[in-house]
Amino acid sequence: MSTSWWLDELFPDLSQGDILEEMLFTAPVFPPTSVARGTGKGGKEIWTPDSQFKDAKGGKVSTLAEGRVASGLVLSHSCELDKVDKKNGRVTVVPILPISMMGDKQEEILNQEIRALLPLPDIPGVGTCVADLRLPVALSRSYIDTRRRICSMTDDARLRLHAQMAGFFFRVKWPKLVESA
């Protein structure tokens, strides 16, 4: 079994486990605020608050959102990414943060005691980070493709990621461990 988390070279294509450079992680503000697109002086595009949500083209609505800029970890499966529409498709990513930002939880995280938070040791050029599985977002593939890919995971690291996802989303309990507890 490999002991490295990161491949020396990127996979040729976007893959599950890839680390991407900074991107937007946002959620609609509360209370939800609709915005409408308009045109200002000189033909400049402007967005103004609107009293109600109106269906735009294709049944979509526009809303005010807020969030943070952070690097991201790709959760979408590589097979899914191969099939996804390069323009309209979505890629599920979660934000990653430097371990130093986790305050007094750092030791717990590094000891792998928190299901929601996967430590990512020594990301090349970035350092040790934490992936927060509580905050997955589905960003457009066209946006994702504008982000620089920092590194790709080894097969074993992806398997470790799968374990974290299973542990967090499904809370699976293995009989052997239950008996020994």
Partner: protein, 112 residues
């Protein structure tokens, strides 16, 4: 070298621990001083500021539990929700499940 499923914290700690400890030796000292001050109940505000500052956080993050301990110890910690050996067991079982053949048919367009 212990199994990857245990995070390989040994290697990581071996390489990172020494350098980080050396690099942050002064910060560790500051942290200890801060704790002493707190114990003496003197300059509580100053002590708290140092204790919870970024340098102190970094210093406290350095001593990670070695990988083998994470697996072999009776309990990771008294309050941990993750039992020892959990990640290794999960990885083994997922590997078995991944033998399932997947369909290559196209998925519908996403709703959003």
């Amino acid at each position: 070298m212990k199994g990857f499923e245990d995070f390989d914290l040994t290697t990581w700690a071996d390489e990172g621990l020494t350098t980080r400890m050396l690099a942050t030796a002064s910060n560790v000292f500051k942290t200890k001083v801060a704790k002493s001050l707190k114990n003496l109940a003197l300059g509580a505000t100053v002590a708290a500021a140092i204790s919870f500052g970024p340098t102190a956080v970094r210093a406290s993050a350095v001593p990670v539990t070695p990988a083998e301990q994470v697996v072999s110890s009776p309990a990771v910690s008294a309050h941990s929700e993750v039992p020892p050996g959990y990640w290794a067991e999960t990885m083994q079982n997922i590997k078995k499940m991944q033998a399932v053949v997947e369909s290559d048919s196209a998925d519908p367009e996403p709703f959003l």
